[in-house]
């Protein structure tokens, strides 16, 4: 069984089948991309993985443990976290505070520790702050630690979202269109950063439209169209796959 095993998951909304018997697997340390035209159901898959939606059929098994139809808390606890298609930071909180919210689930001190500022509180709070600072440093946002999230340029906001997801000590990180709105330099940097993440041991699942990013970084690619898996394979296979090209209507789609 793969590290993340997704078997025939289906999601229906009323009469509409958004995701239709989709199966895929991800091995530890891989970078796997899920691509497909807009509205294909990719984000819906992410939502099913992370507990936002219940699944109507199938199963999702992570490291041997079923994680379908549980709470988002449980999914994060098991070690999967995500970013969002439309950035969802906490706009009026500082960058470091945003990342610290990511550390929340791993922070053990409780209400009374906070009230009486026990040694346990002091030690753990400092540790988590340093952890957040380190993540931000690694991602190149050291200078932005004190800034309010809403004041950051778009590209940096995306990075903060990734930093926040990393802060949950996730083993698998789901990135939902991380390169959206980025210029070529920024997406090069993103490429580099995702590779670094993989080198550090993270497993990455990517939804992306930017083919430069997808082709250059993915170990394997799955293609979804109208809720169904229509192709899977290595980047060069996918690039030459007829049904994939047709699904994108006559050519590999470049970022709009």
């Amino acid at each position: 069984m793969a590290y993340l095993q997704v078997n025939s998951i289906t999601k229906q909304f009323g009469g509409l089948i958004a995701v239709d018997n989709v199966s895929f697997e991800v091995e530890k340390g891989e970078i796997v991309s899920i691509i497909g035209p807009n509205g294909a159901g990719k984000t819906t898959v992410f939502n099913m993985l992370t507990g936002v939606y219940t699944i109507d059929n199938g199963e999702i098994i992570f490291d041997g443990t079923p994680i379908h139809n549980t709470t988002p808390y449980n999914v994060v606890n098991q070690g999967i976290s995500r970013t969002f298609q439309n950035i969802r930071l906490f706009p009026n909180m500082r960058v470091i505070e945003n990342v610290l919210v990511g550390t929340h689930i791993r922070t053990e001190y409780g209400f009374f520790d906070s009230l009486f500022r026990t040694p346990r509180y002091k030690k753990e709070e400092a540790e988590k702050v340093m952890h957040a600072v380190d993540i931000l440093r690694d991602i190149g946002l050291e200078d932005r630690i004190n800034d309010y999230a809403q004041n950051l340029p778009y590209g940096e906001q995306r990075k903060v979202e990734i930093a926040r997801a990393i802060a949950t000590d996730a083993k698998i990180i789901l990135l939902d269109e991380p390169a959206a709105g980025m210029n070529p330099q920024e997406s090069e940097e993103l490429l580099r950063f995702i590779r670094e993440l993989r080198d550090k041991g993270y497993t990455i699942i990517l939804i992306e439209h930017d083919m430069n990013v997808v082709m250059n970084i993915s170990d394997r690619i799955y293609v979804i169209d109208h809720g169904k898996k229509i192709a899977q394979g290595f980047p060069n296979e996918i690039a030459n796959n007829q049904s994939v090209i047709e699904a994108y209507l006559g050519g590999v789609k470049k970022d709009a």
Binding site: F13, T43, N47, V52, F84, Q85
Partner: protein, 291 residues
């Protein structure tokens, strides 16, 4: 006895429905619960009383109260709510603004009309009708009839007129409606006017039924009508009708069997139960959240 209370409850419930539709319409179009709606209702009853005391005839007084209350509804939107929409404020801002508005209206009523209960003429009292063991007051018949007619008119406006089509379009997607040439601001103002007008009619009816008017009357009735709207499914017009009837009948029975001091609590209990069990109400649609 029970049938009597049933009829009492139905008559009262029809009037609640008239107020409840005001909540539904504004919510439908703005996704906002207009907290000041109860105060608007109280305002209308006071206005009717004012015009009657100025020696206008009963029908002209009520008509003028309808007009002026509709205008009040538009004013509230234009002065307080529209600027917030333009600024893209957080939803809390609109909620707090409508609370403030309710407060202002109610307290101004207290200042200008004093807090005592004032008698409202029983102008629909033509006597009792006896059907077997049940006594129906003519006021109740008028209440039911008028409410029914008005609800039918409202439904016709919304479903059969061009303006109603514009309202429904704006409800679904205001940006697209705007692009299609619909004057969204006008539609919103018209919605508020309709809400105010129907509250005013309810004000005249309920005022005439209980024959008292006081500034605080909007608070309780507003909450009860809100419970009715939520029960029926807020945003759904026919839901408000059903909800109003249920609340009216329940209140009537509660008054008989629990005593009048706890009659007001029935609406709260219904509201809390609905919100806990099925927040979308009987006929409401569920919003699917897209992440």
């Amino acid at each position: 006895m029970i049938i009597q209370q049933l009829f009492n409850g139905l008559a009262l419930g029809m009037a609640y429905s008239l107020i409840a539709v005001g909540y539904s319409m504004v919510f439908g179009i703005l996704r906002l619960i207009n907290f000041s709606h109860g105060a608007i209702y109280a305002f209308s009853a006071h206005m009717a009383l004012l015009f009657i005391s100025m020696k206008f005839g009963i029908i002209p007084a009520i008509l003028m109260s309808i007009l002026i209350t509709g205008i009040l509804g538009i004013l509230i939107d234009k002065t307080a709510l529209e600027p917030l929409r333009k600024k893209n404020s957080i939803p809390i801002a609109s909620l707090i603004t409508t609370i403030g508005m309710a407060n202002i209206i109610q307290n101004l009523l207290m200042i200008f009309f004093n807090t005592e209960r004032k008698p409202f003429p029983a102008f629909f009292d033509f006597g009792m009708l006896k059907l077997g063991s049940v006594q129906i007051n003519s006021t109740q018949i008028v209440m039911c009839l008028v409410s029914l007619i008005l609800l039918v008119i409202l439904t016709l406006i919304i479903n059969k007129t061009k303006l109603g089509l514009a309202m429904r379009a704006t409800e679904q997607n205001s940006k697209a409606a705007n692009l299609m040439g619909i004057n969204v601001n006008f539609v919103i103002s018209f919605t508020f006017f309709l809400g105010g007008a129907s509250a005013a009619i309810a004000g005249a009816l309920i005022g005439g039924y209980y024959q008292i008017v006081y500034p605080g009357m909007g608070f309780m009735v507003g909450l009860k009508a809100f419970a009715a709207a939520v029960l029926g499914g807020i945003g759904v017009l026919h839901g408000s009708v059903v909800g109003g009837l249920v609340v009216g009948v329940s209140e009537s029975f509660a008054a008989t069997f629990l005593g009048s001091s706890y009659r007001d609590s029935v609406a709260f209990i219904i509201l809390i139960l609905v919100l806990i069990i099925k927040p979308t109400g009987l006929f409401g649609k569920k919003d699917i959240k897209k992440v």
